[in-house]
């Protein structure tokens, strides 16, 4: 599957899950900030990606689990350097540019861009091939 084909399928999933227009789903758009995703939408997106690509996504594989509850990773509402490294290791597909510029935990949603989802799906598909 080409990059454009993966992008198109991700776009369809997001249009369906978030009730946004096709032209809002741009590679750099963030799921929470630009596309209005809420926490439960992430579960919906995982389910829809699994169906669209015929893949299995483990809990915490695409979106992090309980990062904000770990005092080593988050202190006073800010992601610690250790937390940032852990997130990067667990989520190599994500885009950390905005979070590193302002590491407040409330900005953690900014790491999930449309392009990050495309990269994640491409990695899953190539691993399965």
């Amino acid at each position: 599957m080409t990059h454009d084909e993966v992008f198109e399928k991700v776009r369809e999933v997001l249009v369906d899950a978030l009730a946004v227009d096709d032209d809002e789903v741009l590679p750099g758009a963030t799921l929470t900030g630009d596309l209005g995703a809420e926490s439960i939408d992430f579960l919906d997106i995982v389910f829809k990606l699994e169906q669209a690509f015929g893949i299995k996504i483990a809990q915490g594989e695409l979106f992090p689990d309980n990062v904000s509850q770990d005092p080593e990773f988050v202190q006073n509402g800010v992601v610690t350097p250790k937390g940032m490294e852990a997130l990067k290791e667990r989520l190599p597909h994500a885009d950390f540019t905005k979070l590193e510029a302002d590491p407040k935990i409330t900005n953690v949603g900014e790491i999930f861009t449309v392009d990050a989802l495309v990269k994640f799906c491409e990695r899953k598909l190539s691993a399965a091939a």
């Binding site: 579960l43 389910f47 169906q51």
Partner: protein, 174 residues
């Protein structure tokens, strides 16, 4: 009034599909407000099943399917109505048929696609599809880390057990 928006489960394929029905009755108080006659304009009464309660009926149907799939160990909470379209009204004397299909299921939640049909007793053999309702459920205890909820399963209480028993569905062992 009990918060039960299905009357009977008519079939269950565990982990795949559950079909339930709801008989719409003129004895239901809410139908007399939805919609009452308007004397000022002369508009006659128009009792129709509220669409929000049809969504609830599908949520109960699909929720039981999800709960059954997890042997009723999880507290299954409706988290998102992904899609709801209804193209006809359900009036007193008709039967709503809710068919829920399990699309995804894992430790944190589940998703279902649902088809709503209407059965008119004038032609009881025919169920006409009138809409689709797609839902996402959360397994409450798996998603609210740090928040304590009661141990007992308050989602699947005595009323749901009664419907399951009345419908001839075996309850999982405790």
């Amino acid at each position: 009034m009990r918060w039960l928006w299905i009357d009977r489960i008519v079939s269950l394929e565990p982990g795949q599909r559950l079909v339930a029905i709801k008989n719409v009755s003129m004895a239901e108080d809410h139908l007399h407000d939805h919609f009452a006659a308007d004397e000022a304009s002369g508009r006659p009464a128009s009792p129709i099943m509220p669409a929000s309660l049809i969504v609830e009926g599908m949520a109960q149907t699909a929720g039981i399917l999800v709960g059954h799939t997890g042997a009723f160990r999880e507290k299954v909470i409706l988290a998102k109505v992904s899609n709801a379209t209804l193209e006809a009204d359900a009036t007193p004397g008709t039967t709503l048929r809710y068919e829920a299909e399990l699309k995804s299921f894992d430790t944190v939640g589940a998703s279902c696609q649902g088809v709503v049909s209407l059965i008119d007793p004038v032609a009881p053999g025919e169920a006409t599809a009138i809409g689709q309702i797609d839902l996402v459920f959360s397994h409450l205890d798996q998603n609210r880390a740090g928040l304590a909820f009661p141990d007992h399963n308050f989602v699947f209480g005595p009323s749901f057990k009664m419907i399951l028993e009345q419908s001839g569905i075996d309850l999982p062992a405790e």
